[in-house]
Symmetry: C2
Subunit: 90 residues, 2 copies
Amino acid sequence: MLAAVKQTTTDLIGMLAGSLTTLSFVPQVWKTYRRKSAGDFSWLYVVAYTTGLALWLWYGLLIASMPVILANAVALVLLVALVGLKVKYR
Amino acid sequence: MLAAVKQTTTDLIGMLAGSLTTLSFVPQVWKTYRRKSAGDFSWLYVVAYTTGLALWLWYGLLIASMPVILANAVALVLLVALVGLKVKYR
């Protein structure tokens, strides 16, 4: 019983962590879209982060982990949008 | 033997993914430090992402996963630096 509660708490912390790091890009993409400015972003950052997300997604598919797949698929869509805005607004 | 090779490949993809999403913040922090400008960053993004990393680190400690602990500890240091630069340069 106590072990199950501990497991549930651990899972909740992991899910909250994944939701935050993934969904944090929603206000960022929105801000970049409105501001029409992306000069403060490093190209290396956006390209390396996007590539990393694609690899995370691949990893999630290989280990068949739905949370890893879901979090990284959503993040990848947001990052591709951010890269597109960075290409447009530099 | 084939299963072991497949496991090693999977691990390598995961490690490469973690290295990329974590280390991508090195050029970003460096660029923000040199450019002295962080106005393109959304406050919600930097705060939510940093909070998410702290929770990932906590999750890593709870499940005793050294890769999760290591990747998120390094990323957290970089994000705290980015938040500091964002406070300074807005």
